[in-house]
């Protein structure tokens, strides 16, 4: 989240799209209700089906799954066309005035400039700002300059008229316009609107561009950085934000430092590649501090062993030579390129797309160590495997979240310390102990036997009181970092140095555990701001800043756009209010608001993504119609298509129904079906079938139906509902069905009828290994299926 849960109460308009907060984030959703009750805020729900958020919304629009960009681009067009944008904000805080070199524009075939048909990729060097002699981007005098970002943006989005949106998304023009009227009403200084989204946006082959479209909309409405505004990602697990922050994803080191690649021959080369250069004289370009963050990270990893002479141990880090994201990883596994898997708190058989392929891939491992608190589908995959798997499986009983201390970082970026409620039962151990014991044994082996490359293991700094059971307190202190000369905990990442005198396991969390103690454990419920900032409650990154980009909450003179919802303001000598996202004593006009970006301002036009500088509608990888925008380029041209023997895609002629997957309030992922009271809440898999389609196919409520794709099939009962209705898209009748994800062959819920080889009703038997080309997130949210009555 750019803002935070408690900030939602300050909003005037909530657009819930690509997320279903009432259903999946019911606790956070209280702030939406509060905004509705206290401020009369309006809630607009846009989704392929009427869900529990829609039930309490002021306006609901049903769109075809996978057409979010068209809808959002339509909103951008509506805002620009009707001059609903916040002009002062746009000029001050975005790159609207930046001048562009020609050559990036989209053509009638739906391809941007720089397209290389052979590589199926864009040459992004064709997408660039017009630079001056200092290497800074040139700026237009006014928004009317035809080569400035603003005019180019107007041109690009002008194709998304309400008629076109209706044609692509399958909603009525009237429904779209009513949504637009509400959402785009916040482009004034005295109004703020927020967007709440989740996996309904990210899990598409165009996922990152959907979020770009949302960011553009919020920027032109002047909603970013302001109380009650923002683009707010609702994280789906209690600590997924913390995991991401600490380098859980394959492509990043802790604190979003970039992963070294083989061509980074030295630390210097790595830093040169990864440290950005400012594109504006007023850009603070905070990432220019990358060397400080990186060297401190190396000191945290390797301690005294990391020296200037050995490049701070840089060569002990793995250099990634390819794509190791989920779908690629399991593809490698399926191809027999991976021998072993350590699987902690993760249930790939449930989570991953194309379950059959996941099961086949796991069967090709030599060994698989699973640390879990429940016997998950992954721990028992061999019971349903078609071939006799050779995998040796070790199931280690692990404590669950309530059986250990530590912190959860929530969607608001609040790291909240928690205390264990009970010790793990029986022989179960907490994750850190399991990991430490494995590490100690492996290190022992390396010490004794040498091995191919023992250095990273032997040089790892492992100075815990009890090396077999490091406490999470110790780890939290290490993550925060300390001054190596004095041994004192650091209080801000501003103190980090590139000379090896400081250490920090994650620069973003520097300040969370200072000499004052564990700030994450703070529990001060007071809210002096009156805006739900609760600055004495836990600690959030960065530097306990509750609203990111909060400099954008004020105008050129440092006065808040809306004095009733002031983020920070200039008092003549300092920025006061929330922790400023700005040099605290830099007077207005000297530095721009978006300090992490080389531009210094927010990007309406962005050359960073591999599939276009502006978001464009492409159909999902399995598409029910040719792209109504440009039939020659139907799918995202850059999105990788897997073509292995188990990666079959369905054609619209045979697989005639659009399906989407989602969670229900009653369950948390594949977990809660193991627990009696929650298993009872939704004990059985079902498929949501629109009433009109059910009538056509002779399906009655509670009838058994089979849903299939070329990859697999599931059977279950039909829940016939009016909450999904049929739609006309490009003249064709389109039906959508909904497939909730929570069941399987493990746990206490109904296991299915054996029709799928004992696999249980698992939604991901259907989904495809299709991914977004930027994030490589699988496209769980749209695919084609066949529906039959059993």
């Amino acid at each position: 989240m750019t803002n935070g849960w408690t900030d939602i109460r300050n909003t005037d308009v909530v657009l819930a799209m690509g997320g279903n907060p009432a259903e999946n984030h019911p606790c956070g959703f209280k702030w939406v209700i509060e905004a509705k009750k206290k401020r009369g805020a309006k809630l607009v729900s846009v989704d392929p089906r009427y869900n529990r958020t829609s039930a309490v919304s002021d306006h609901f629009v049903q769109i075809r799954a996978g057409t979010d960009i068209a809808f959002l681009d339509g909103l951008v067009h509506y805002t620009l066309e009707n001059k609903k944008y916040h002009e002062d904000y746009v000029k001050l805080h975005t790159n609207a005035l930046f001048l562009l070199e020609p050559g990036f524009e989209i053509n009638d075939d739906g391809l941007f400039g720089g397209w290389d048909a052979e590589k199926r990729a864009y040459d992004r060097s064709k997408w660039k700002y017009a630079l001056d002699e200092n290497g800074f981007a040139r700026r237009a005098e006014s928004l009317d300059d035809p080569t400035c970002v603003f005019q180019q943006m107007k041109k690009h989005f002008s194709r998304y008229t309400p008629e076109k949106v209706s044609e692509v998304c399958g909603c009525t023009k009237e429904d779209f316009l009513k949504a637009a009227e509400i959402v785009c009403s916040t482009g004034t200084a005295d109004r703020a609107g927020t967007i709440m989204y989740a996996l309904g946006w990210t899990q598409h082959s165009t996922g990152v561009q959907i979020i770009r479209a949302a960011a553009i909309l919020q920027l032109i409405l002047g909603n970013v950085g302001r109380a009650g505004g923002g683009v707010n990602a609702l994280r789906g697990h209690a600590n997924i934000q913390g995991g991401t922050d600490h380098g859980m994803a394959y492509h990043a080191l802790p604190g979003y430092l970039k992963m070294p690649v083989p061509s980074d021959a030295s630390m210097e080369k790595y830093l040169a590649r990864t440290t950005p250069k400012a594109l504006s004289a007023t850009s603070m370009n905070y990432w220019s501090n990358t060397p400080k963050f990186m060297v401190s990270l190396m000191k945290s990893h390797f301690g005294r062993a990391a020296t200037a002479e050995n490049d701070w141990g840089f060569h002990w880090l793995p250099k990634i030579d390819g794509n190791y994201s989920w779908v690629y990883l399991f593809d490698h596994m399926y191809q027999g390129q991976i021998q072993g898997l350590l699987d902690f708190g993760m249930n790939p058989v449930g989570n991953g797309p194309n379950t059959e392929k996941v099961i086949a891939a796991l069967g090709k491992l030599d060994w698989c160590v699973i640390a879990e608190c429940f016997p998950t589908e992954t721990a028992e995959f061999w019971t349903v495997s078609k071939e006799n798997p050779k995998t040796e499986i070790f199931l280690l009983p692990a404590g669950l979240f309530a059986e250990k201390d530590g912190s959860f970082t929530n969607s608001s970026r609040w790291a909240q310390w928690k205390f264990k409620a009970a010790p793990p039962p029986g022989e179960a151990k907490v994750d850190e102990e399991i990991l430490a014991r494995i590490f100690m044994r492996v290190r022992e082996l390396y010490r004794k036997e040498g091995g191919a490359f023992p250095d990273p293991i032997l040089n790892l700094d492992w100075t815990f009181k009890n090396p077999y059971v490091p406490t999470l307190e110790e780890i939290a202190r290490e993550i925060n970092g300390r001054d190596l000369a004095t041994g004192k905990q650091l209080s801000s990442f501003g103190e980090l140095k590139a000379d090896g005198t400081t250490s920090s396991g994650d620069w973003l969390y520097c300040g969370s555990y200072t000499e004052a103690g564990n700030l994450m454990a703070r529990r001060d419920p007071r809210d002096p701001s009156g805006l739900g900032q609760y600055e004495g409650w836990a600690w959030n990154w960065p530097l306990n800043r509750r609203v990111m980009y909060n400099r954008a909450s004020a105008d050129a003179q440092g006065r808040p756009w809306d004095p009733t919802r002031s983020g920070i303001q200039w008092n003549g000598s300092r920025w006061v209010g929330d922790t400023p996202d700005m040099k605290p004593d830099a007077p207005p006009g000297t530095l721009d608001a978006f300090i992490m970006l080389p531009e210094g301002v927010a990007k309406l036009w962005a050359p960073d993504l591999v599939d276009g500088p502006f978001p464009e509608h492409y159909e999902p990888v399995e598409y029910p119609v040719e792209n109504p925008m440009h039939p020659k380029t139907t799918r995202n041209p850059v999105a990788p298509i897997f073509q292995g023997p188990m990666d079959k895609l369905g054609a619209k002629e045979e697989y005639d129904i659009v399906a989407t997957t989602y969670r229900l309030t009653e369950h948390f992922h594949f977990w809660t079906k193991h627990i009696a009271p929650t298993a009872l809440l939704q004990p059985e898999f079902f498929v949501e079938v629109p009433e009109g389609l059910a009538v056509q196919r002779g399906i009655r409520n509670e009838d058994r139906v089979r849903v299939s794709t070329p990859r697999g099939s599931v059977t279950g009962r039909a829940l016939v509902t009016r909450r999904i209705h049929g739609m006309k898209v490009a003249g064709k009748e389109i039906w959508q069905v909904g497939i909730p994800i929570h069941w399987g062959f493990a746990g206490r819920t109904v296991k299915g009828d054996g029709a799928t080889g004992g696999r249980g009703p698992m939604a991901n038997l259907l989904t495809a290994c299709a991914v977004d080309p930027n994030s490589f997130t699988p496209e769980y949210k749209t695919f084609l299926v066949k529906l039959e009555k059993v």
């Binding site: 009432a22 529990r52 309030t665 009696a676 004990p683 009433e691 509902t721």
Partner: protein, 508 residues
Amino acid sequence: MSGALEIARTSATGARTTVRDDEQLCMLIDVTTCIGCKACEVACVEWNDLHLEPEYGQKIFQSYQTMPETSPSYWNLIKFNEIPVDFRRQPLALEAATDAPGVMMLMRKDMCMHCAEPGCLEACPAEGAIVQYTNGIVDFQQDHCIGCGYCMTGCPFNIPKFDAKSKRVYKCTMCSDRVENGLGPACVKACPTGCLEFGTKKDMKDRAAHRAEQVKMDFPNAGIYDPAGVGGTGVVYVLHHADRPELYGNLAREPRIDPQLAFWKGPLKWMGGFAFGLSLAAAAIHYFKSGPRRTAAVASKPEPQKEIVRYSVFERALHWTVALTFLYLALSGLGLFTPKLDWLLAVLGGGQVVRAWHPIVGCVFMGAVLIQFAKWFKDLLIKPDDRVWLKRMRDYLAGRDQNVPPSGRFNAGQKITFWIQVLAGVVLLASGIPIWFPEEFSRGLRLWAIVVHSSAAVIAILSLVAHIHMAVFVTRGGLRAMTEGKVTEDWARHHHGKWAEEKLRTPS
């Protein structure tokens, strides 16, 4: 909202204390901001330690609702209803075809309403099994519950549920144990959106009114549900469509304490008691006025007289089966009928035992009556002589037996008593079955069954009083006929002239 729970009134004693002076507590359910997350359901299960079966299937697929109703181990259930709406989100007729422009999902937390005038408490015959605290909470005390299920019939909201295992009825307690200790109910504690609130009734009503005003901007018929028919409820809803509560999972439009129940509880009780007393008094007066009937020496034969077999062993066994079962049914029934006689339940082994045996004994009784009926059917047909007899009944009652025509095996009075018993028995059985198996019959039928059953029982008991009075006290020798099976020739000629003739003519 804390403080010790003081009982304001309890089931079956009839005692009332006013509760108006005490602070009434209330739960506010803002249906317009409920997101149907079911956190309240889990909180309820966990706090009240409700035991769920480990493996279960889905009972229904009604939107996201998986169980049809609350159950003995599930006291709090969100009811999901998807209703067709027009472009302005106003509800259309439920039958509206698939082409309705929109849909609205209504989610209502179904639970005990804690009525100010609780139908369950009104209906409960077991003392102390249902209590209402001075703060308004209506609570079931399962240790006093006899499992009769009358509360299920009395409740206009279909809330109390019978547990077959423990043979007791359960429902939401409003977490009276938490409230007693200054905490709100568990469901309120768990509610993430704040659509549940708990406080004084006045406070909740004020908030509800404020919220309803807000909702009226979009839904002009928005309003508060606090039905007057049950004196208001301890659970108050804010509804978008307050004019159509039935849209919310059949929320009762005008719930009330039903007239059948009121009649059963009030007039029928004192009328029955009065009639019973009257019948005893009449019998006594009759006895003292006209005295016991000694047999006239009509046969003029010297002693020892000829003995005639009046009832075979089988007939006597049958009669005493009927008599004893009737006695049990009458006593146990009275124990269940009126709190003044609930000591009878204790004498008979406790309410639970009585509740279990009463219907079974009833079946035995009915079986015996039917066999009796088959056996004596011919003798019990009303004949022309009987009409004369009945016309002259006054003479018979006054002891002027010579003025009535000689009777067959049974005189007209006996015949009428029998017919009353048979008819009452059939009615008691027919009305008893819905009371026996309340879950299998509609509530409307059960309400009538309760009234009919009790009324029939009153009549049956009154006729029994007449029967015992006449057969045991007035007609000396009658009892012997039913114990030893024999009567003297004189007795037979006196009381059943025709029958005696017949018997004496055909040598046994």
